[in-house]
Amino acid sequence: MDYARMKFYCDESRCIECDGCSVACAEAHELPVGISRRKVVTINEGIPGKEMSTSIACMHCTDAPCEQVCPVDCFYIREDGIVLHDKEKCIGCGYCLYACPFGAPQFPRDGAFGAKGAMDKCTMCAGGPLETNSEKERHLYGQNRIAEGKVPVCAAMCSTKALLVGDAESVSNVYRARVMARGGKGSNSPYGWDKAYKNQ
């Protein structure tokens, strides 16, 4: 069976900085305070024509750098490109954060000395290595919506449909159609895709 390659895309011309995606993510996965798997950031704030907002989370990169640097090899990449990790293997060293081009890995503080706990990041709502939809999987990684055939919650909740997720071809088609509709203006590749997917 040939798997589609799953990708995220956030349309900066549509994102209205409503924070719906990050709130939906935090609620759906019952994330503790201080952990934001998805974050909306605005750059060039107040500069006319240059201000833009975008939603950032793990991009599930091709040849994921996090997977390359992990000293305990806790990452694994699904055939559809989703990058997941085993929290029970993770030692919370922080190397994946240093390697990540998107600042995606998050570290809860636990214990008396405030040591970094196991890393937490966006799973593209695909859970983890544990039994699908088990209570433990839900507790450690959050919902497994992909297994239920649902769209990841951030993109599902996006009111302006700025944030898209899906197989590479469909997302690219939407992107192209939107660029055409705007008169062909804008970058020729979605923001961040060169880093995440090497324009493949």
């Binding site: 934001s36 974050k39 950031v41 750059i43 950032i56 750098p65 390359q68 640097v69 992990c70 000293p71 305990v72 090899d73 806790c74 085993d86 029970e88 293997k89 993770c90 030692i91 919370g92 060293c93 922080g94 190397y95 954060l97 240093y98 390697a99 990540c100 081009p101 998107f102 600042g103 998050q106 570290f107 503080r109 000395f113 405030g114 040591a115 970094k116 961040g192 880093k195």
Partner: protein, 299 residues
């Protein structure tokens, strides 16, 4: 003393800002950190760290761990250890204070180095609780070393300054390549010991600071950012690279230090346990110092 106070305050400052409310990594800084990645005029430390950690660090550590002891094993088999009688007169060289400071550092190293290895080869050990415990011990045993590193630096500073004896020592590699017992020019510490002093002290402080940065992760030190001209994430990447590279050097010299005291010079380790150095050992391996002590009528 002043230096130790400054260091203490700096560390305290690092700890207190560790839980700053506005994140330097995941908040508004996040986009800056991302924009710094791989773009022009960026440090490109992200891809550099990824490449080094992915391809080289673990192999270099393994190379040092096997290569250095292997070289010493060959040395031991071919040239063999230096043996001194140990029944003759002895000289009291290390005070109780010296020995306690040294032993605290020694115990710290004996925990920090193996646990460091467990982290580097974490995949071999399967990750999880065991490696996580190693990581925590790696951090906890940094505390005693941090306490003694400045006193240790001060108590041996004078003897660790390089001088002309050291040039000659290096030219014959301290006489360790010959079986002869010929007096070798060296003061209380020979050039090799001095090298280890500087690596242990300066390297050790580098390891403490870079390690602390990685431990606290999301701290805010305006001064440090301005000084380095780096974003938080680049600072962490630099710390990770430095921690590994310095690790190779400290490890190589630590193994050397242990080999010299435990194997190459039979019984030398007792001098740091009891404080007494054997006379002939002094006469041969630290002849300059021996002459000085003799002039003072200590022998």
């Amino acid at each position: 003393m002043k230096k130790s106070i400054i260091l203490f305050i700096a560390l305290l400052g690092l700890a207190s800002v560790a839980y700053a409310a506005d994140s330097q990594i995941w908040g508004e800084m996040r986009i800056q950190n991302i924009l710094g990645y791989g773009q022009e005029e960026s440090w490109k430390l992200g891809p550099l760290f990824t490449m080094l950690q992915h391809k080289y660090f673990a192999w270099i550590f393994l190379g040092v761990l096997i290569g250095v002891p292997a070289a010493f094993f060959i040395h031991y088999k071919i040239i063999g250890p230096k043996v001194f009688p140990h029944s003759e007169k002895k000289y009291y060289a290390f005070s109780l204070y010296n020995r306690i400071i040294h032993q605290v550092a020694a115990v710290s190293f004996l925990v920090i180095i193996p646990t460091g290895f467990i982290i580097v080869f974490g995949d071999f050990f399967g990750g999880g609780t065991f490696v996580r415990m190693a990581k925590n011990l790696h951090g906890i045993f940094t505390i005693p070393f941090t306490i003694v590193v400045i006193p240790m630096a001060l108590m041996w500073l004078k003897e660790a300054l390089f001088n002309m004896d050291d040039v000659k020592w290096f030219m014959i590699l301290g006489g360790y390549l010959s079986k002869e017992k010929k007096p070798i020019l060296a003061g209380k510490f020979n050039a090799g010991q001095k090298m280890w002093y500087w690596v242990a002290i300066l390297g050790g402080i580098t390891m403490i600071l870079s390690g602390a940065m990685m431990y606290f992760l999301d701290f805010k030190m305006e001064m440090l950012h301005n000084l380095a001209g780096m974003s938080q994430i680049d600072l962490l990447r630099a710390a990770a690279i430095l921690h590994n590279v310095m690790g190779f050097i400290v490890l190589a010299l630590f193994i050397t230090h242990v080999y010299m005291s435990m194997f190459a010079i039979k019984g030398a380790v007792h001098s740091i346990i009891t404080g007494y150095i054997e006379e002939e050992e002094l006469k041969i391996l630290h002849s300059t110092w021996y002459k000085k002590l003799k002039d003072q009528g200590k022998f």
